[in-house]
Point group: C2
Chain length 227, copies 2
DNA sequence: AAAGAGGGCTTTGTATTCAATATACGGGTT
DNA sequence: AACCCGTATATTGAATACAAAGCCCTCTTT
């Protein structure tokens, strides 16, 4: 979702959408932050109309909550919400992976390998969390691509964006990223081998571990994050 | 999703949203229909702004596709899309049901029973497909309610709205509705008994059967629907 | 006659302006 | 002093107005 999914012409609304989404996911705005339409409009140098439309889309993505006549507030991060999101992924992603592996062609295998190598390279090069996150997501997309299920992918994409906000809170991001790399390596191998059950099992573990890390992290931070 | 989920003040945008969503789900607009902003605006007696915002939301719900500078088109109904949607539900709903049953209180059980009775009453009274669809959905919501997972429910709600478009195509709607009633009865019973595995199994069958019916129906109709 | 270029018309995208609602503040009453 | 109420201000919701892109039709050219 970081890159617009369809090849729409660049419009002011989409620019504002990307800007705000980035700011929310990256943690530049934290949970509870009020997004004033006019403030954004003035900052970007546009009218409030595109800002409003962007906010509507962000609400659909679950990144903000809009209250009528009161405006948009960045969705809060809570342990309950994290569990909701990560367990939805936990059920959904392995399923899509299975569907993808049923139909995977050699090109699909290569896509996964390529996505893996990109992530590895970026990690070794010490790229920013934003870049790593994007490549991490690209890898997961590559795993799902062959399934050719736009609806399911859209659901997954939305879940991932919200999940990413929690992942960015990680205290020891480096360790998590390195661990992810190892698991990606194994996943890519299982994918290439057509070993669906092993791939699903590992993916479940991958997501469950991420969930547990996030929960632990939230408990450490305590009230600050939840507010 | 038929009734607005949060208690937002009634706004022009939300009215237009409900109107358009109804028209799409009911089949009043069929797949491929162009929705002209000004036509809707004039018809309802509002400006294009609320219409645009409603369309953006409908795109997020997967009911329309918006192409920049070309406008909104009602999403087409295809067998592939139907499989995508119904199999996503197939994975997701039983999972949420399980989570709900883990935490269900007597009030939650009563909610399910009540939703069941409402559907039964409406079916016997020969209510319209729109009403029956709404009550059918209300029953499924009741099953999921205790899970207390807003994100997951939102995903489900979106999937259901799109699934409903296919269900409305049913040739023999009556038979499907009666069959649904029987299965709802058993589901409600399993829910009350706390028999989670039986409930999940039946729900899976319930959705899988719906998927198969829909696919069969689409094949009968052939090109007309897909275009 | 077919293909391509140009221009007018239609439709969408965005800005500007007006209206309505919510919040904050201050005065008055008990 | 606490509470209620009204007004003033800030912010969002919606309408109107303007800009730009797409589409279709015609005219020209080969």
């Amino acid at each position: 979702m970081k890159a617009s999914p369809s090849i729409k012409r660049r419009t002011v609304t989409s620019s504002v959408l990307d800007l705000l989404r980035d700011r929310i996911i990256s943690g530049y705005y934290d949970g509870g932050h009020q997004i004033r339409q006019e403030a954004i409009a003035d900052e970007v140098g546009v009218s409030r109309i595109p800002v409003r439309e962007a906010l509507v889309q962000l609400e659909a993505e679950g990144l903000v909550v809009i209250h009528t006549h009161k405006g948009a507030v960045v969705a809060k991060l809570t342990p309950e919400d994290a569990v909701d999101i990560f367990e939805a992924r936990l059920i959904f992603e392995p399923f899509i992976l299975a569907k993808a592996m049923e139909k995977a062609t050699p090109e699909d295998v290569e896509r996964v390998q390529s996505a893996y190598r990109d992530y590895e390279k970026a990690l070794l090069a010490g790229e920013s969390p934003a870049i790593l996150s994007q490549l991490n997501w690209a890898f997961h997309i590559a795993l799902s691509y062959a399934a050719d299920r736009p609806r399911s992918l859209s659901v997954l994409s939305t879940l991932y964006n919200s999940a990413d906000r929690y992942l960015r809170l990680q205290i020891d991001a480096k360790a998590a990223q390195t661990k992810a790399l190892e698991e990606h390596s194994a996943l890519a191998q299982y994918f290439a081998d057509g070993n669906s059950s092993a791939a699903q099992k590992l993916l479940k573990k991958h997501i469950a571990d991420a969930r547990d890390d996030v929960i632990r992290g939230l408990q450490h931070r305590g009230a600050k994050v939840a507010s």
